[in-house]
Symmetry: C2
Subunit: 121 residues, 2 copies
């Protein structure tokens, strides 16, 4: 079977942009974390381990697929998560080191709140 390089590179042509650590802003990160669904995503990723990556499809969030995509986008653009495409999957990773460096203690506050959201579903 022939394999074409890049044939499964990305499900969309949109480049996934991420702010550098130095470009993270407190207000944008706070706004990203001011939502129960996004807090749940953060908690799931935090509990996936320091290098844990989870595909978008594994979250089973109680919202529509397009709403879910919007939430992931807000988190990525704020610098809370890193996303990359692998084949047809979009993988998500918490930017814990960056967040802990810029806003120490914030994730430690947010993650238990996200766990509480998940427990309430």
């Amino acid at each position: 079977m022939l394999r074409y390089p890049g044939a499964m590179a990305s499900r969309t042509s949109t480049a996934l942009t991420h702010p550098d650590r130095a470009a993270l802003t407190f207000t944008t990160v706070m706004a990203a974390l001011a939502d129960p669904v996004r807090l749940a995503v953060v908690a799931r990723l935090a509990d996936a381990g320091p290098d844990g990556e989870l595909a978008c499809s594994t979250f089973a969030l109680p919202v529509s697929k397009s709403t879910q995509s919007g939430h992931f986008k807000v988190l990525r653009e704020a610098g809370v998560i890193r996303q990359r495409d692998e084949g047809t999957r979009r993988l998500n990773q918490l930017r814990r080191a960056d967040l802990d460096a810029r806003f120490p203690g914030l994730l430690d506050l947010a993650v238990p709140q996200g766990r509480a959201v998940i427990a309430s579903w």
Copy 2:
């Protein structure tokens, strides 16, 4: 001169409602703190001391009076500040004890961010 009880009680007839400590929610408080002007208000109040009260008119925020009133309202309704009317002044106080009890460390993160906002003006 005759003094009528209550004649200076309030500049408006709107009752100032405040959520109880137990009713504070993380997402609402996070959203309230996700704004530079509101962070500046929080820092000013934090630096006014534990029981410090500051009148709205003393903040000199770089926004219109009605925008400023909206920011104070968001902070009050989220449970970040307590407001009371005294004569023609509306006094503001940070609800540090309530916030520290419910979301330990959050104010310690937010106050320096608010100071940075003020320093940038």
